[in-house]
Symmetry: C2
């Protein structure tokens, strides 16, 4: 039986968020938080617009999900994010005790795996879901940015 | 000549913030951001009140300082924080490219040194300024919390 709510389904929603960031001239990264097959938070990178290095998609999604749940721990939740989380976002996910993190493209320079950031023992993490789509969007952004300057 | 604006001076201001957190029943950690001997941001931990694991003192101080400066990089700034930053906060400080981080008490369990979080190459970090005061306040908080439960 086909599961309509598989990882690709939710990662596509995160990609829609990444595209919204792209349209705003932000580094295109998007995220959604899911519990029981329901999206309870969605966000995209807004570091330029908010003039705030902490405004990564994941950070906003964590805050919004906790607000929705009325509790600060994201037990039974999954975060889908189009790019591997950085140290800051992985550190926030650590505190959230989230069940599961699924990312798209790897960030070999500044991703939490390369940087060795620890997640909570309760948390599982996996990457590579619609990685090519996420990577192509990022590539398009940086190529255009380079041509503009 | 005595410098009235030494590290202890600003750490005392961070401790005032930590005490404000304590009064609210929050884990007592406070922070200030300083540029040219002027405090441009002050914040204390609000994770319980805001129901948000990302609401550490440092995170709010980084956001407030960038808002004050009108730019997201905290060049020439020093962050004073009463407790060694965690992975999340050190990760945010990494992105901010802040000049200097000064902390009070060490956090041997979840501090950025133990966790191996990387700061920006431009950033220097040192600890131990009014460490005993910060530690005693934290100790008092956890002893009282234990007795209440």
């Amino acid at each position: 039986m086909i599961d309509p709510f598989d990882d690709a389904y939710f990662m596509k929603r995160a990609l829609v968020e990444a595209e919204a960031a792209y349209e705003l001239g932000e580094i295109p990264v998007g995220a959604v938080v899911v519990v029981n097959n329901t999206i309870i938070a969605r966000a995209h990178n807004l570091t330029e617009r908010l003039i705030d290095v902490t405004a990564h998609a994941e950070m906003q999604a964590i805050t919004a999900a906790a607000n929705y749940l009325g509790g600060k721990y994201l037990h039974k939740c999954t975060l889908y994010v189009t790019l591997e989380p950085c140290q800051m976002c992985a550190g926030a996910l650590y505190w959230s005790q989230i069940d599961r993190v699924v990312y798209g493209a790897a960030d070999e320079q500044r991703g939490c795996k390369t940087m060795g950031t620890k997640l909570h023992p309760k948390t599982t993490i996996e990457g590579g879901v619609l990685a090519e789509e996420a990577k192509q969007l990022l590539k398009r952004f940086f190529v255009e940015k380079r041509n503009l300057n």
